[in-house]
Symmetry: C2
Subunit: 268 residues, 2 copies
């Protein structure tokens, strides 16, 4: 994924002098993604640093590092649903639920969750989900189901699966004239997005986003403030917590799709 997005995770050294800042027994320890945040103290390039409210609890706001901010920003910064509008969210994993939280904060009145796993609906309700559509329950393409359900199409859609067919459905289900679809999911490198160009002439808009269009240094402190003002709820994303020594349990929970976010504690 990082390779496709051209994020350099291999560098592992400071960009200024090409060296690491850590050693163990005289051997360098490299900086993973330039941050090395699996340590209690770290040295990072100033460009990787965002100063946030010192009152913010780090064991909560740490989840704003990537996926949650991406989903939230995809809705708040890119899709920008009007108050009272109808929003479809494709994929109800942590990123999709963050996009849903954005729709709730924006005041959307219908928030339709789309997922092939019906078990996701219960959890999604906590994030503002008002309706659930399972593409497997229908013989026709899910975009047609959504167009019927909303009498013409949703106002905004946000795609958080990375599945190319979900991307196409997310685009085609928005309303002619004003509908905006936002692609967030990371596609397979050989995928092709295909649609009939008439869908553009009928004035649907297609956009994508990287990190929810947030500029991390400038914007993350404000996202933290949204949490401090109790507008944005982060606790509901944190489904698990394990001591650092059990990091592999955390990976298992993630891979099985059982956790949204698992906090790792440095001591226990």
């Amino acid at each position: 994924m990082c390779d496709l997005l051209r994020i350099n995770v291999d560098r592992g050294v400071m960009i200024g002098d090409g060296k690491s800042r850590f050693t163990i027994s005289g051997q360098p320890i490299f900086h993973f993604v330039g941050t090395s945040t699996f340590s209690e103290y770290t040295v990072i390039h100033v460009g990787c640093l965002a100063k946030i409210n010192p009152e913010a609890p780090l064991d909560k706001v740490c989840i704003l590092s990537c996926g949650i901010s991406t989903g939230l920003g995809a809705t708040l910064n890119v899709a920008k649903p009007a108050k009272g509008s109808t929003v479809a969210i494709f994929g109800l994993g942590a990123v999709g639920l963050a996009a849903m939280e954005g729709a709730r904060l924006a005041g959307a009145s219908r928030i339709i969750g789309v997922d092939i796993n019906p078990a996701k609906y219960e959890q999604a309700k906590k994030f503002g989900c008002t309706e659930f559509v399972n593409p497997k329950d229908h013989d026709k393409p899910v975009q047609e189901v959504l167009i019927e359900l909303t009498n013409g199409g949703v106002d905004r859609s946000v795609e958080c699966t990375g599945n190319i067919n979900a991307m196409i459905s997310a685009f085609e289900c928005v309303h002619d004239g004003w509908g905006v679809a936002v692609l967030v999911g990371v596609p397979h490198k050989d995928d092709q997005f295909k649609t009939h160009p008439m869908n553009f002439l009928s004035e649907k808009t297609l956009k994508g986003t990287f990190f929810g269009n947030y500029k991390p240094r400038t914007d993350l402190p404000n996202v933290v403030e949204m949490y401090m003002k109790k507008e944005l709820e982060l606790e509901k994303f944190i489904t698990h917590s394990v001591p650092f020594s059990e990091i592999n349990t955390a990976f298992d929970l993630m891979l099985k799709g059982e956790s949204l976010r698992c906090i790792m504690r440095m001591e226990d």
Copy 2:
């Protein structure tokens, strides 16, 4: 084309009572596209009527009926280039030149015309064209040529050919992060727009437009005012004028690509 756009040209009768308002020798004459504008006087549905400045010369502003407004609005209402930005226009027919006129009015500083016919460049200069790219002069895809020429991509592109490959090029040539491509050309009914979805994640936006997003009754009077204030130039679109009896000459000029707009005079 009208069929693909779902414009009902067959109806030919008033929507209220399903009848025509004209007869000849007792036989009904139908209203073509609901307007019958090949007559000196006509009866139309109030929804088809826009009241414009009575001082406006009808033999000039009549060209605002469809393609010219579409191209102009595609740039001014949808692409919305900032002053000083770089705009690529694909296809230098009348619609493309109207889109180019929009870029000139918006204050774009680089306006790149893209067409497979190099003869179009001379005429395009009158519409603000500062550079010309002929895809046939290059071995690589024209989007790559434009990305090199502009050191990263154009700020805005407007596609006015209807060719599916030009649509894809017009999208892929815009700059990551803020580029917007607008599709105006009417595609073939079997066409598929194909691109790698990473182009969306890198924050390019793709839109289309019908009639340049102008609402005819509300907005056309203002376009006429732009002409009356000598901001918008219409004369340069009018390359020919023939008496009505020579209507077939006008069609020949259009089909051969020799005219931009040919005015038909009711008497001579």
